[in-house]
Symmetry: C2
Amino acid sequence: MTRSKGVIVQSERLRDQIYKLIRDDLRTGALAPGERLVEVSLAKKLGVSRTPVREALFQLASDGLLAESSRGYMLPVHTTEEIRDRLEIRRLLEPEILRRACEEASSRQIKSLLKALEEEKKYIDAADASKFIGANANFRLVLLSLCKNPLLTRCAELYDDQFQCFRIWGLNEPRGRELAVGSHEKICNAIKDRKPAAAVKALQQLLDRVEQMLEQYRDSVAS
Amino acid sequence: MTRSKGVIVQSERLRDQIYKLIRDDLRTGALAPGERLVEVSLAKKLGVSRTPVREALFQLASDGLLAESSRGYMLPVHTTEEIRDRLEIRRLLEPEILRRACEEASSRQIKSLLKALEEEKKYIDAADASKFIGANANFRLVLLSLCKNPLLTRCAELYDDQFQCFRIWGLNEPRGRELAVGSHEKICNAIKDRKPAAAVKALQQLLDRVEQMLEQYRDSVAS
DNA sequence: TTGATTGATATTGTATACAATACTCACCTG
DNA sequence: CAGGTGAGTATTGTATACAATATCAATCAA
């Protein structure tokens, strides 16, 4: 697993840097579901002591981004039921974010959203799936940040990231990527035109499709 | 600031016990807004080392329940804007919880909800405000747990608890307590009768009133 | 008196040491 | 050969030691 390429500096708290590093790795799929995260190994690799690593892992776990096993933390492998629970929360939070985005987003922000979309399109057929997954993660970050309630943004990011194990499965298929890009395009246009209803509709269609895919996911995991 | 009466045992992880202990203290208002939480003092009082205390405080802070200052953590004193942001999230999550509660709550759960309401009523005129605040906190815990999506419950609890500094201000006034109990009564009845629309309506009225009170809060804090 | 300076202190951030626990796997026994 | 048993090991949980930094107070100069 290639990962954690970021540099550790002394000026910022180590635990915060490590937290961001690992969270980025989770977003971009650099870590495989089921993989274990061991304090000493990470500490060694990053050239720090166990303490800040430990605290970062702890926070990630309490954010629901890592699972606790009898011995340490690992990448979560959620049941479909758990994924559905997360999806339900996304259904509550994200429509409101889009509504507010339509009202509040500056033209500058919209521009960067469109740019993120282009980036995503660029990699839709990339041989290296991680390219697309990274662009996809970035698009979602930009999208959720369009709302001026920072807490709401942070909360939505969390549940969005908790999806990752399922999302990566979906984005490995071309169909999944097309769904993502198509939906994102609709949402972008709606926000650009300041049409909240259209944005919300596109999002809900996306989430409905995602929920359908959950069935196939269950079967594929069961096999 | 009487607090942290709970007993620390060895069988469970210390940091988890400490987390719960402090979080309970926050819920019941045993800690005053602006009060500092110092690692060594807490560790000494609880008879443990700094490490687990440190980790518990860290998690509380990342949950948004404690504020970071230049030196350690303190009870947050939110601006009205920050409180409004939290209120917005509650408006998104809690109606859905009530809807699901109307469908999913067992008669046993409803019974315990009614009991929690009675407890709250009992202390509405108590000289010791903390009695009422404790009962109020308990009622809300029971209410939010009626929904069968544990993640949603946990998330809602978090934003509910992040309200505490404002809520305690409101519940010190008899008017605030009457509002709380009156609303809770309506919600209870609606859930008992399995009427989601009525439950949501009562909740929304409550939250509207709370938002109005925010104005007065701003003035009282400014003075 | 007021403001700056500096030394002491309080407190956190990180590293390390030690204790406890859960897992692994080889070995033994039936 | 199956299954249990125990020693060894990997890994976390907690305590403590040390380093860095921000705060506070006292002192002194203007």
